[in-house]
């Protein structure tokens, strides 16, 4: 049995058992939504080397579309989720085709600016409820049989959605397509010279990432029964960068860990230190960048590697866990 498969099994066990460990289910569901969001983001940052500072755009857009589909059109949740996700994908195509015209820092600034533009659009559109947001989105019956108003049902649906997205990302990374992405990250000119249409690969990665971020946003709407500007604000984009960075970018499980740590911090600290949360997040950011660039999972793996003195010559599979591009 491969080690990643083992990781998967443990992840599944943790996910299935968690709600029976006296853990507040809404908190867990929030964690899974953000874990999916961070994983989708990681596909772009960790595996393609593109830092998007506007991923909240997709998260927020899907959130609004799903909310509207469920609340106003009265669609069943599975269709609502799909609508939001597809919309995020289309948006990803539009933003992506613009943003990949530039690289590096410019790419980051363009995605940020585009997301901010969309933020203003949501603010002014009637159906989003502006500052008030879309409140009281009904959860409904999934596929007509699963009653999502029951927290336990909802939890397992959310967890299943996470696993689906997570597996999609995993498959993408480990497909030939994913290998090309990594080669672009490592050395773009060489990939071009090898005959790859780099722009097309980047765009596709962008669209996949946007779509799955959308899925995360759509799911979040069903859980919390609301969509709001917070989901589309650039602070959200910054948060997902932090989750990925803290957990370990370019690692499969890192963003999941990062997401849960950040969500926990926010939950626990909010009561104790109030508005200092932002300062603490800032410090985590700075520390991660200065001293901790591999993130939690990346550092742990490096630690184990050192402990067991594995030869570092390596199969492709080992290589992909190691490279955190520090």
């Amino acid at each position: 049995m491969s080690r990643t498969a083992l990781g998967f099994i443990l992840l599944i066990i943790a996910g299935v058992v968690a709600p029976w460990l006296n853990i507040y289910p809404t908190f867990l569901m929030k964690g899974w939504c953000f874990a999916l969001f961070a994983c989708a983001f990681n596909l772009l940052l960790g595996y393609t080397g593109l830092l998007s500072f506007g991923h909240a755009a997709f998260f927020g857009a899907a959130s609004y579309i799903t909310g509207h589909a469920l609340k106003v059109w009265g669609l069943p949740p599975e269709i609502g989720l799909l609508a939001g996700t597809v919309f995020a994908g289309v948006l990803g195509y539009l933003f992506g085709s613009l943003a990949i015209r530039r690289a590096g820092i410019y790419f980051a600034m363009i995605t940020l600016a585009l997301a901010q533009m969309l933020y203003f659009v949501w603010l002014q559109m009637k159906f989003t409820g502006g500052e008030d947001g879309l409140q009281g989105v009904p959860r409904g019956m999934m596929f007509g049989v699963i009653d999502l108003t029951n927290n336990v049902n909802l939890y397992y649906v959310v967890f299943a959605i996470f696993l689906f997205g997570f597996f999609m990302i995993y498959r993408t990374i480990h497909s030939p397509f994913g290998q090309v992405l990594k080669s672009i990250r490592e050395n773009e000119p060489r990939s071009i010279s090898l005959g790859y249409d780099v722009a097309k690969y980047k765009l596709l990665a962008f669209v996949i990432s946007a779509t799955l971020s959308g899925l995360a946003g759509a799911t979040k709407t069903v859980v919390f029964q609301l969509a709001s500007l917070t989901d589309a604000h650039w602070h959200m984009s910054g948060e997902v960068v932090l989750m990925t960075l803290l957990g370990g970018m370019g690692t499969v499980f890192g963003p999941v860990v990062g997401a849960f740590v950040i969500v926990t911090l926010q939950n626990e600290l909010a009561d104790k230190v109030g508005s200092w949360v932002q300062v603490i997040m800032g410090f985590i950011f700075v520390i991660c960048v200065l001293a901790f660039r591999r993130g939690i999972v990346g550092e742990l793996m490096a630690l184990f590697r050192n402990l067991y003195q594995r030869p570092v010559g390596l199969s492709a599979r080992q290589a992909d866990v190691k490279d955190t591009k520090a």
Binding site: L11, A18, N22, Q135, L226, F260, L307
Partner: protein, 417 residues
């Protein structure tokens, strides 16, 4: 192989750890359906407010203090200590989602019985349906929009202090009567601003005034100069500021800068004494505004406000006074009902009129609106102000039945029955 296993284990542990620590109380909440009598012999009150944002001055820690004072006063009155009361507070950062999540947690996990303050419309509207779903009470003191007791009303909510209708009736009518019969609106471009503009427009027209136009500014706005120039170009006698907090303050400041204010007058449609305090009398003198409470109104208000001032170093806003009054009213209703079950308590709250320094003989209507008097106020000139916080002339007491939207006009289905 081995290290990968360990790594996976650690990852899994990391993921479940926070959750495990977090919520041991969950089971308790699950095991217990809506309480029939005092849950654990304790009443838990949550103050959900803006502790760090734009509205922290007008609600924020002052609201928390007000709730604390209400609880202390109640316990002092009930010397035999009828029941234990606990206060929890949280910062909702003016975000509906944060508020709704916090409320969900408080209800499901911590057995909170009532949530108060709820400054800003978005947070109030987010929390109300959650409370309704879980059979708990909300008392809105901080938010303004009329839908709270209109199409979004619930039978377990009270809208205690003020709303856009009352503000429009007060300020709008007064300004038109003073001769300000042509209006131009500077509106914050979101639901609350739109509601305020709409309510005021109706009042202006009903009183024989005319609305020449309006301009919507982004929220939050920093530079209002271009919008003010538009208002200037309209030639309207009155520029209505359908915004709040920092936006209103900025607009007032910049209107003075561009030489607009002496010629055209401004009407701040939602202003608090805290806004006047930070802008200063020089910039605000002569403005009309409507509030549901003014600390310097009579001996009773002064007595309470002095107590508040000693602890907070600021005079109370109407929101903070409302939090005190409503919390006390709630606690008395719990005692009278002999339970903290929401429906029974709400029934008592609606049966008993509110009678304190905040409101006289005011009753809570079925849509949740507390029907009480409002005050039309005018900001004093700097030389008229004799002491700190001495800011207003009370120009008129607007009778409750005029200030509050008539039941027939609201969209709340609870009133139609």
């Amino acid at each position: 192989m081995k290290h990968k296993l360990m790594f996976a284990l650690v990852s899994a542990a990391l993921m479940s750890l926070p959750a495990g620590v977090a919520l041991a109380q969950q089971k308790k909440a699950d095991a217990k359906p809506a309480a029939v009598k005092l849950s654990d012999g304790m009443v838990k009150i949550g103050i959900l407010t803006d502790l760090s944002g734009t509205y922290s001055d007008l609600a924020g820690s002052g609201s928390v203090l007000a709730a604390k004072m209400a609880i202390e006063d109640f316990q002092a009155q009930e010397k035999d200590r009828a029941f234990k009361i606990e206060l929890v507070t949280a910062d909702h950062q003016n975000k509906g989602d944060v508020a709704s999540n916090r409320a969900r947690e408080w209800f499901e996990r911590d057995q909170v019985d009532m949530i108060g303050d709820l400054v800003t419309t978005s947070t109030a509207l987010a929390v109300m349906p959650v409370a309704k779903q879980m059979n708990r009470i909300t008392i809105v003191s901080g938010a303004a929009s009329t839908p709270i007791t209109g199409k979004n009303c619930t039978d377990l909510n009270v809208h205690y202090v003020y709303d856009t209708y009352a503000l429009a009736v007060g300020t709008g009518k007064a300004v038109v009567k003073q001769g300000g019969d042509t209006w131009f609106f500077l509106t914050a471009d979101y639901a609350f601003g739109h509601a305020l503009e709409k309510d005021t427009t109706e009042v202006v027209i009903a009183n024989g005034g005319k609305v020449l136009g309006s301009v919507r500014h982004p929220f939050p706005g920093t530079d209002f100069s271009s919008f003010l120039l538009k208002a200037q170009a309209s030639g309207a006698k009155v520029i209505g500021l359908a915004n709040a907090g920092a936006d209103t303050q900025n607009a007032i400041k910049q209107a003075a800068e561009f030489g607009i204010t002496p010629k055209q007058s401004l009407a701040g449609l939602l202003m608090f004494i805290s806004d006047i305090h930070s802008l200063g009398l020089k910039a605000t003198q002569g403005m009309y505004l409507t509030e549901g409470f003014y600390w310097d109104f009579n001996d009773e208000t002064r007595a309470w406000s002095k107590r508040f001032f000693e602890k907070h170093k600021r005079m109370p806003t109407m929101v903070q006074a409302g939090v005190y009054s409503s919390t006390l009213h709630y606690l008395k209703a719990v005692k009278a009902a002999g339970t903290d079950e929401a429906k029974a308590v709400m029934k008592k709250m609606k049966e008993t009129p509110v009678n304190d320094f905040f409101a006289k003989n005011a009753k809570i209507r079925d849509d949740g609106r507390l029907v009480h008097d409002f005050y039309l106020l005018q900001v004093k000139k700097p030389q008229e102000s004799k002491s700190p916080w001495d800011y207003y002339h009370v120009r008129q007491v607007i009778k409750a039945e005029d200030a509050v939207m008539p039941g027939a006009k609201t969209e709340c289905p609870l009133l139609k029955m």
